[in-house]
Amino acid sequence: MDVTNYVILAAILFSIGAVGVLVRRNAIVMFMSIELMLNAANLAFVAFAQANGTFDGQVVAFFVMVVAAAEVVIGLAIIMAIFRTRKTASIDEANLLRA
């Protein structure tokens, strides 16, 4: 089994996630894209763990999930707070700060 394929898959998912952040205006979807990127990283970690024959990658992936969970909570809390104020989840409307 060629680990390279997994990593390439990870790279593709990562890139899709990266582009998702750029083209979606809904903050929640944007955030999902970021989660996708984290998942891609996890996939790469796990794949490399397989290639390297060590478990460090798997441990990292586990921790990433934990961190991601925490991040999601905070992120969604922030998005909620903003939604309650502005009644919109579009990130483009948060552009008072500029120049």
Binding site: L22, I91, N95
Partner: protein
């Protein structure tokens, strides 16, 4: 005085004696008028009462002391007459060593006597002339300052100190020409005099620098000692630079233009500075630098050329001027041309140059004072066409003036006869052309001086209605009389027993001229020429002169009236050209220098706007920028690894 004021003497320079005895106090010559100037100028209005008198006293005392020293000097053997007094070390930087020292030798002694003597007379004259002027304290202060500076000029033992005096008299001249500060023309004339003189000063500066570079000394003694070793080029260049300096101060072509304008100053100033003393400084400089000129025929020729051109140009201008002072000024220019020409002849001419300088000092000063007296009488009118028939009213003025007139014409036995005739002889010795120029000059001089005296004292009355001419007071007439006596006698005295020749010879050397034409014949020719000039003038102006200057005149007259277009050329080349340079530079400063600074500023601000434009406030834009950054970094990393 309980203690000695004589400064410690520093080692003697070759051919000179360390000043001892009364000569150790020769600095007093300068100090006295300087003190006068300081007291008057710094003392303020509290010196108003006694100031003018003090101012007269100071140069007079100097004159007395000068006479005393002269007598002392006469008592010394010829080779010991050059007295050197070094007060202190002035500048000492490496090989550039200049003493603050004075040299009193027969040449400078002659000048000291002239300056203090004529100077004192003119001070006395001024007491009367300036009597009603509210600012006369200042005037006398300036006059004293001038005398001090002029004495410094002739007493310095090196070129640099001479330069100090040189510019000092320039300053005094500036102050005095511009004395009537409220008159814009006076202020402009003063500035012009200073600036044109500065051009000459450039020459003098360069001469001094070149002397230092060539000889590592700038003292007269040092130069005369080393000059023989100098290369022809160096000597020629020094000669030329000195000539430029001399031309500036002595109003020689092409730096003559200031002198006529300088007549804006009070008349005593014209007499003292612009006739008798300061303008002859150029002649002094050339004679003083005899060790240079004697070794460079080319430089001498340049001097002769300048002298010849000026004497003719001055004479030509003199023919056309209706302003009595300007006519006299043109005459001065012309007469100094004689002196310069003579000085350019080398040892043959030095003595005659100085002789003419001294006699000219008497008769021209006298005539200026006479002119001042006339003006005084005519409500400060200077236009000769508004004079006429004054001889009966102003007897003394006319008398003294007429003596001066005869002197300048070179009518024997008046002073001018001796000095001018000798110059003509010497000029013929050198070259026919120079000789003819001097001869021609004599003729023209006779014409315009006759014209002047005829229009002023003879001819018909052309006064303005409110003119009430009267003879001037004693303070004015006495100096005129004294100068007239000098005008009569000085020529004879100076030549009697070759007095001046033997007096100056230790300094300047002497050669007897041997003109190609026999001297008596030459004298006859000269007198004939002069007579011709007089006759023409008599024909034209004895009976009657036009009240207004005719306009349908020849092109030569027009040119002469315009000072031979000297000012026009200055105007076109220097004034307007200079203005254009100023404008162009200002434009460059605005556009290029400021512009490039502003350009950099604008570029920076433009970039700033550009950068700020990327800060759109849209998070997605920011993320895009990050992603672009990531991609570029990855690309760059790949390139780096290649």
């Amino acid at each position: 005085m309980g203690y000695t004021l004589a400064f410690e003497a520093i080692s003697p320079i070759a051919n000179t004696q360390v000043a001892t005895g009364s000569f150790a106090y020769l600095w007093l010559l300068i100090a006295l008028p300087l003190i006068g100037a300081l007291v008057l100028l710094l003392g303020g209005s509290r010196t108003n009462s006694f100031g003018p008198l003090l101012a007269v006293l100071m140069p007079a005392t100097s004159f007395g002391f000068a006479v005393y020293l002269w007598l002392q000097m006469l008592g010394l053997p010829k080779e010991l007459r050059s007295q050197n007094l070094v007060l202190f070390e002035w500048i000492n930087i490496g090989s550039f060593q200049v003493p603050f020292g004075f040299q009193l030798d027969p040449l400078s002694m002659s000048f000291v006597l002239l300056i203090t003597g004529v100077g004192s007379l003119i001070h006395i004259y001024s007491l009367g002339y300036m009597d009603h002027d509210p600012g006369k304290r200042r005037f006398f202060g300036y006059l004293n300052l001038f005398v001090a500076a002029m004495l410094l000029l002739v007493l310095a033992d090196n070129y640099l100190l001479l330069y100090v005096g040189w510019e000092g008299v320039g300053l005094a001249s500036y102050l005095l020409i511009g004395y009537y500060q409220h008159k814009p023309s006076a202020a402009a004339a003063a500035k012009k005099a200073f600036v044109v003189n500065r051009v000459g000063d450039v020459g003098l500066s360069l001469a001094i620098m070149l002397m230092f570079v060539a000889f590592h000394t700038v003292t007269f003694a040092g130069i005369s000692e080393k000059a023989e070793q100098g290369s022809a080029t160096v000597l020629f260049l020094i000669g030329i630079f000195l000539l430029i300096g001399a031309a500036g101060k002595s109003a020689q072509v092409p730096l003559q233009s200031w002198l006529l304008d300088a007549m804006e100053g009070p008349t005593p100033v014209s007499a003292l500075i612009h006739a008798a003393t300061m303008v002859t400084a150029g002649v002094y400089l050339i004679v003083r630098s005899n060790s240079i000129y004697d070794l460079s025929v080319a430089a001498q020729n340049a001097v002769i050329l300048v002298g010849a051109v000026t004497l003719l140009a001055g004479a030509a201008i003199g023919m056309a001027k209706d302003d009595i002072k300007k006519a006299l000024a043109a005459s001065t220019m012309s007469q100094i041309g004689y002196m310069v020409l003579a000085a350019g002849l080398g040892p043959i001419g030095y003595v005659y140059a100085i002789m003419h300088l001294l006699t000219h000092g008497f008769f021209k000063a006298g005539m200026f004072l006479g002119a001042g007296s006339v003006m005084h009488a005519m409500n400060d009118e200077v236009d000769m066409r508004k004079y006429g028939a004054l001889r009966g009213i102003m007897m003394i003025t006319f008398g003294t003036f007429f003596v001066g007139y005869l002197a300048i014409l070179g009518v024997p036995p008046f002073a001018g006869f001796y000095s001018k005739d000798l110059i003509i002889e010497a000029a013929f010795d050198r070259s026919i052309i120079a000789g003819v120029a001097t001869l021609l000059g004599a003729g023209i001089t006779a014409f315009y001086m006759s014209r002047l005296i005829l229009m002023t004292f003879f001819s018909n009355k052309r006064w303005e209605d409110d003119a009430h001419p009267h003879e001037s007071g004693l303070t004015m007439t006495i100096p005129m009389v004294v100068l007239a006596i000098g005008s009569v006698s000085s020529g004879f005295l100076l030549t009697y027993n070759d007095a001046l020749k033997s007096w100056l010879a230790p300094v300047t050397g002497y050669q007897t001229p041997e003109p190609p034409i026999a001297i008596p014949v030459l004298i006859a020719i000269t007198l004939a020429t002069v007579l011709l000039g007089v006759l023409v003038a008599v024909k034209l102006y004895l009976k009657e002169a036009a009240r207004v200057a005719p306009t349908d005149v020849s092109i030569f007259t027009k040119a002469a009236r315009k000072d031979l277009y000297g000012d026009a050329i200055n105007e076109a080349v220097f004034m307007r050209g200079g203005q254009q340079v100023v404008n162009a530079t200002t434009a460059v400063d605005n556009s290029v220098v400021e512009g490039s600074v502003n350009f950099i500023g604008r570029i920076t601000l433009g970039l700033s706007s550009l950068v700020r434009a990327t800060q759109t406030g849209y998070t997605r834009n920011y993320a895009l920028a990050m992603l672009i950054g990531v991609a570029l970094l990855l690309l760059l990393a790949a390139i780096v690894r290649l």
